[in-house]
């Protein structure tokens, strides 16, 4: 098992539900995963699988009527003054229990756990300059003078590779290109030196060459700052290049967790296998037919009984998969999978 002091965030059986008129949408339904210090964890899945909702649950920024109904989000907070990397004392805070408007989460949100969003144009305010928005992030968490804030903002913009940072600091988001906006967004996220950076589809809205620049930047910042990154994406290519471990989600649950090599070379869950088979691979020179995942993601109001993937699964076992929910079991090499093919079903 991993040493306990390695953990940064540990999510146990998290359930985030939305009670709507049409019924309850179980956006996150019993998800279990963890992020360790200094690692990049990829969270992959198709739209609606709850990957963004996990991120929002950690930061407690779920829009009503969504709420956390069950589970724990344990945040292992290093105590102030402890040198990073040393075996230090940690406080454990259950973020699922704190008041979402209270002072405790406000001290963490943006400072210790920061988030960068998919669409930088909508996430940035159009009426404030880039500099103002970085300084605002700083002012929330520490005392800074105007002059120091501005200097720090310019320094951050330079760190994220913005050209002419002295000029950009006074510009508005609409004056910047998509890639530059995403750099500004990252600068805001990094302003208070977070221990965990949650990146929700940070490059999905960008072109491939710009995406390559941003991914390169994130790799560099991670090595320089030693922060943990939770990389939420649907792009398996990004996952393969950026992450050390991967969690695959399906309909609000974690189907499989493994280190990135194991996941790509030895996937266990039928959904992971199907997902990997369905993507065209560059340079593979196969005009062979793609093997799509059969069927469709079910409607959130009609979730299947038992294993959520069983109606689309090629290896479904009648009488078991459609009756019972498979627990997340641990295989060798810390690979974890929620599928009865690998046990966990008790008597067959």
């Amino acid at each position: 098992m991993t040493p306990q002091n390695d953990l940064l965030i540990e999510i146990k059986n998290l359930k985030t539900y939305f009670a709507l008129d049409e019924g309850t949408v179980k956006a996150v339904d019993g998800a279990t995963l963890d992020v360790r210090r200094g690692e990049t964890l990829g969270v992959v899945g198709e739209s609606g699988c709850g990957k963004s909702m996990i991120a929002r649950s950690i930061l407690r920024i779920i829009d009503p009527p969504g709420q956390i109904v069950d589970g724990e989000i344990l945040y292992y907070r290093s105590q102030a003054g402890a040198p990073p990397g040393a075996s230090h004392q940690v406080d454990v805070i259950d973020l699922a229990k704190v008041d979402p408007r209270g002072p405790q989460i406000r001290a963490i949100r943006g400072a210790e756990v920061a988030m960068i969003f998919q669409e930088p144009m909508t996430a940035l305010s159009p009426v404030y300059t880039i500099g103002n928005q970085i300084v605002e992030a700083l002012e929330q968490h520490r005392q800074v003078t105007k002059r120091d804030g501005r200097t720090e903002a310019i320094r951050l913009l330079r760190e994220v590779g913005m050209s002419l940072p002295e000029r950009r600091v006074d510009e508005y988001p609409h004056q910047l290109s998509g890639g530059m906006r995403q750099r500004a967004m990252i600068a805001i996220g990094l302003a208070c030196r977070p221990a965990l950076l949650i990146a929700d589809e940070p490059t999905t809205a960008l072109d491939v060459t710009t995406q390559a620049q941003i991914l390169e930047l994130m790799l560099r910042l991670k090595t320089e700052r030693g922060m943990g990154i939770m990389m939420i994406t649907h792009d398996l290519g990004v996952v393969a290049e950026m992450t050390q471990r991967v969690a695959v989600m399906y309909l609000g649950r974690v189907a499989e967790v493994a280190d990135v090599r194991t996941l790509f070379h030895n996937p266990k869950h039928p959904y992971t296998i199907a997902l990997l088979n369905s993507i065209p691979k560059l340079g593979r020179r196969a005009r062979a037919r793609l093997q799509p995942v059969s069927g469709m993601v079910p409607s959130p109001y009609h979730r299947p009984k038992g294993c959520l993937f069983h109606p689309r699964c090629p290896s479904v076992m009648k009488g078991l998969c459609d009756q019972k929910e498979p627990p997340l079991i641990t295989l060798e090499g810390a690979q974890r999978v929620a599928c009865f093919l690998y046990g966990g079903g008790g008597e067959r």
Binding site: S47, L236, A240, R261, P280, L282, R285, L290, M296
Partner: protein, 343 residues
């Protein structure tokens, strides 16, 4: 006319010097002070029954080129020669509105966003049936039969005919869009990023469907996309655009094994590969795509090109044949040894 000299395959669409310029206006009198050359002297042809990929980054003019071909946007100049039947070639760019409307049943489009491209107040019958109705191909019971048939062919149940688009998922909506485009049995289909808005598992289904329908209806596709792995999968030949110009064109396999333009090389190396063992020999391009309203001198790519030399800064390279059937617009195409996406 219109037989390719080298292969003898019939050419369905021959595009010559296609241009689309947008004026830049300034000041009180709205004087034209410059031009955005969205599509700048682009020439290519599409063989009957093939899939030609048109790739490039946002703003490179690939969508504008696609829409000009269907006259969704009026081209500023050039010829769009379309072979309507054996020996019957028309210039789409020079048709009056009346003849254009009869021509359009041969030229259809599949759009990127299945959410905004379908009228939410129309049933599937109206959406898929409209092209049949306006082209006076079918009406009444016959129309319903044809719509039902079309829905079946794209993998939707004909009973859904009376439902509205909101009842369907993204992948199903894209199928509705495809059914509508194919209802008039077109010859050429311009597919503008048809799978970009879809999830991975649905994307594979849709790509397979497009391939099946191509067989079934003998379709010719112009496949516009920024996703190089999808393009490699579905296209026979690929054309790469950069800031309004074609920079490279050849057979798909040749392009991926033997790229001749530094931009193509960089574009392919930038795609994240779904294999953790292939971590990055990425070429990260510096800077940003050139502004088409104020492009750099010489070769538009030279400020970002790691192979650029003096000539590239002054002289714009012409698109020329650098190997049999392989066109590239680069002064150094022959001497450069460009790296290939790892296999």
């Amino acid at each position: 006319m219109n037989q390719s000299v080298t292969t003898g395959r019939p050419v369905l669409l021959d595009i010559k010097h296609l241009r689309k310029y947008y004026p830049i206006r300034h000041g009180l009198l709205q004087r034209v002070t410059g031009q955005v050359k969205a599509v700048d002297d682009v020439s290519f042809h599409i063989f009957e029954g093939e899939t030609l990929g048109l790739v490039g980054e946002s703003g490179c003019g690939k969508t504008t080129a696609g829409r000009c071909i269907l006259r969704g946007i009026e081209p500023s100049g050039g010829e769009i020669l379309f072979m309507r039947g054996p020996g019957d070639v028309v210039d789409v760019a020079r048709q009056d509105p009346q003849s254009m409307s009869t021509l359009r049943r041969n030229l259809q489009m599949i759009f990127q966003d299945p959410y905004s491209s379908l009228n939410p107040r129309w049933t599937l019958l109206e959406i898929v049936g409209e092209p049949l109705l306006v082209n006076k191909i079918a009406r009444g019971k016959d129309l319903e039969d044809q719509v039902a048939d079309m829905l079946k062919r794209v993998g939707l149940r004909p009973e859904f005919m009376r439902r509205y688009p909101h009842a369907f998922s993204g992948g199903e909506r894209q199928r509705i869009g495809i059914a509508r485009a194919l209802a008039t049995r077109p010859k050429l289909v311009v597919a503008d990023e048809p799978v970009s808005a879809l999830d991975v598992s649905v994307r594979a289904q849709t790509l397979n469907l497009l391939e099946d329908l191509q067989q079934e209806f003998q379709l010719t596709y112009l496949f516009i996309s920024h996703d190089l792995s999808v393009v490699e999968h579905i296209c026979d030949r690929v054309a790469v655009m950069y800031v309004g110009k074609l920079v490279e064109m050849c057979e798909t396999e040749e392009l991926y094994l033997n790229p001749k333009h530094p931009y193509t090389e960089a574009l392919m190396s930038a795609v994240p590969k779904a294999d953790p063992d292939l971590k990055s020999q990425r070429i990260v391009l510096e800077g940003e795509v050139a502004d088409p309203g104020n492009p750099p001198s010489g070769c538009y790519f030279h400020p970002r090109c790691r192979y650029a030399y003096d000539r590239c800064r002054v002289e714009s390279p012409a698109l020329r044949e650098v190997a049999p059937g392989h066109l590239a617009a680069c002064h150094r195409a022959e001497e450069l040894k460009l790296s290939v996406a790892p296999a």
